[in-house]
Every structure is written in structure tokens, then in C-alpha cells.
Symmetry: C2
Subunit: 223 residues, 2 copies
């Protein structure tokens, strides 16, 4: 959609009565935003996969290292930019990160609208979960004893964030997407990834931790 389509106070987001004075439309097309993000992520993940192959780390742990780097960088760079850039939608140059959020807001206009619940969850995600995700990768690589509990903590944070994200949207009328495509792909699917993967990792960590605790208790009893 071209910049000329909207007047100064108009925008492509739902609901139409959302006020965004100074809004400047996207410069990049959807594929110019999504493909570079996925492409760079693929490169970084491949690099981690290859480098970790030189260590004695298991395949599952190598996959987890890839995930933690991907999610950590997404949290810190993409979500970190959003959390601390209240005026991203006024950006007059094709700044990639501003473009990401101008585009994403089509799936959830609360981003452009700066809803405080969204900013809070994104802020917590960027500042706490981002660095903690990278630390999780390091903890797996170096077999730290805090590896499972750290991974579990980040997963729980991600899941709590997603719960807040989806429930507040529901309570506020669930009318923030510019259309079904944006609703299902941006709002539901993209966030769904951060429900499914953290759930799987959290369950794995829970099992590992309870097994270790049971073993430690047993050792104390048999002493």
C-alpha cells in the first residue's frame, strides 16, 4: 500500500478511530521486512548449529542453543527497539526496526497505539528475557548447573507474557487486526511460536529438575 493512501492522521490499522498523529506509512513491503528477518535469523542459527557441532554437546542441546540465540536476539533487538521507541510509527526514513513494528501493528494496533500492557510485556521481555536467553545458550554450551532452571525461568516469563498479551486483547475486544490475514499470521501464529516452544522446553526442564532433585534426596536418605 502506498504512502499517499493515507492523510496525515490516517493509518492502515484497526480500529479506524485509533489516533496516531504524525503516522508515516511503511516504506518497505511485507516481504522486504519478513524475509530479511527470517534470513538473518537462519544465518545466525546455522552458525550456532555449525559451531556447536565441534563441541560434545548433544543434538537436542545444540537445537536449544539455536533457539536461545534466535529468541534472545529477537527479544533484545526487535522488541528492545519497540519498548524504547514510542514514536516508531512517525519514522520518516525506512529504518528497518521501525518498519517491522509499523508492519506488525497491522496484526495488533496496540503496538502503534502504545498500550501500556504491551509496552510493559515487551520491556520485560527485552530487558530481562533477552539477555537471559543468551545466557541460557552459554549455560548449555558450558554445562552449567543452572542451565535447566535458567531455561525454565525464561520460558515461564515468555509464557506469562503471552498470557497477558492474549488475555488483555480478549478483554479489550479483540479488534486490533487490520484483517484476517494479519490476525492469524501476525497476532496468532507469530506469538503462538512463543507459546509452543517455551512450553516444550519448560516441560523438559521440569522433568530434568525433578529427576535431579529426586536423585539428590535419595542420596541424602541413603547416607
Amino acid at each position: 500500500m502506498a504512502a499517499a493512501e493515507w492523510g496525515e492522521s490516517e493509518h492502515p490499522y484497526a480500529p479506524k478511530d485509533l489516533k496516531l498523529p504524525g503516522y508515516v506509512p511503511c516504506f518497505l513491503s511485507q516481504k522486504d521486512i519478513v524475509f530479511p528477518y527470517l534470513g538473518v535469523s537462519f544465518l545466525v542459527v546455522s552458525l550456532i548449529w555449525l559451531v556447536s557441532g565441534r563441541s560434545k554437546v548433544s543434538k537436542t542441546d545444540r537445537l536449544l542453543m539455536c533457539w536461545w540465540v534466535f529468541t534472545g536476539l529477537t527479544h533484545m533487538i526487535l522488541e528492545g527497539y519497540f519498548a524504547f521507541s514510542p514514536e516508531f510509527y512517525k519514522e520518516k526514513t525506512p529504518h528497518f526496526l521501525a518498519e517491522v513494528w509499523k508492519e506488525y501493528s497491522k496484526g495488533d494496533s496496540r503496538y502503534a497505539g502504545r498500550e501500556s500492557g504491551i509496552v510493559t510485556v515487551e520491556g520485560i521481555t527485552a530487558v530481562l528475557e533477552g539477555p537471559a536467553s543468551l545466557l541460557a545458550m552459554y549455560a548449555i554450551a558450558t554445562r552449567k548447573s543452572y542451565s535447566y532452571i535458567l531455561q525454565f525461568s525464561v520460558c515461564l516469563g515468555q509464557l506469562y507474557g503471552c498470557l497477558v498479551y492474549f488475555i488483555t486483547a480478549f478483554l479489550d475486544g479483540d479488534n486490533f487486526a487490520a484483517g484476517p490475514f494479519y490476525y492469524w499470521w501476525y497476532y496468532a501464529f507469530a506469538n503462538g511460536v512463543w507459546v509452543v516452544i517455551p512450553s516444550l522446553i519448560a516441560i523438559r526442564c521440569w522433568k530434568k529438575i525433578t529427576a535431579a532433585t529426586a536423585q539428590a534426596e535419595k542420596k541424602i536418605k541413603t547416607k
Copy 2:
């Protein structure tokens, strides 16, 4: 303050322009609300302390059992009532739970105003963390291997909830208390309890879990 002080659409909360049509003032005084809550809690906690004394559980674990019952019942009864009673401020009879939230709203009017972030956090707290807290008490009493990780999970949920609670208030202008007394005692102190205690328990669980994990890893290596 007497019921007659306010007209039909008026209320004692800040900001004054908050609309609460149908608001019915508190019937009970502050001490008639706070003392029964603290009194009943004290009775329940004493009962748990006494009963747990007959088992082999350590004093620290007995204290933790008391906390988990207190926090679990608070989450399920008090916060559960709030989460599912959008019209509590219209309650025309001196319903104790409605009175609690009419009174508490003087410290944070977003409760009466039904701000979606608040309802979401309280809903998660009541539905997930409440029962999980009672399960934590049971897990400690019966020395389950999931005891630490469960306690840790609930603490992390409580801490995430408090973060969302305080940060959204800050972002929205931090102007929801009817005065400094209510701000400091209801908003800051009462919630501060759920920052300090869960932090302490989470740190303890983290240490116990990493120690158990380290021990389990060592055992594998020496095999």
C-alpha cells in the same frame, strides 16, 4: 467516610474523572475490612504451623507451608472474586469481598476501573497461582521431588505479575491512589510483600535446584 458524601456517579477514587456509574460506597470501615482479613489469615497460618509441627518437616519448610496457604487462599478467594466480579463496586449489600476491593481501589483505582492489565494479572494469579500455591504446601508436606520447581514457578509468576502491575501504573501516569496513605500502604506496601517474599523463596529454590542438578551431573560423570 459516609455513603452520603457521594452522589450517584461520584466516588472516592483518583483520578476524579474516572467514570463509575452505579458506584455504591463502602459499608465497612477500613479496620472492619483489614482486621478480619489479617485475623482469619493468622488463624489459618497458626493452624498450619501447629499441624505441620507433628510431622518431620523442618521449621523453614513449616514457615513456607504457612506462606503458601496464606498466599494461595488470598489468590483464590480475594483475587478470584475480583477477577470474576466486574461489578463489585455496585454491590448494594456489605459483601465482604466487594468491600475489600472497594477499599483497595483507594490505593489503585484501576481495580474499580477494570483496567484490562489488572484483570488479566489478577485472573492469572487466581486461576493458576492460587491452586498451585496450595499444591506447593502439599508438595512440601509430602516431600515431592517437584516441590522446589513448583514453588519457584509460582514465585516467578507472582514476580512477573508485580512487575506488570507496577510498570503499567508507571506508564499510565502513576495517579491512581486517593492519597499518600493509600498509595504507600495499599499500593506499595501490600504489593511489596509479594515482591520480597517470592524473591526470597525463588532464590532459595534456585540454589536448591542448581545444587541438585550439579550433584546429579557429577553422579553421571563418575559412573
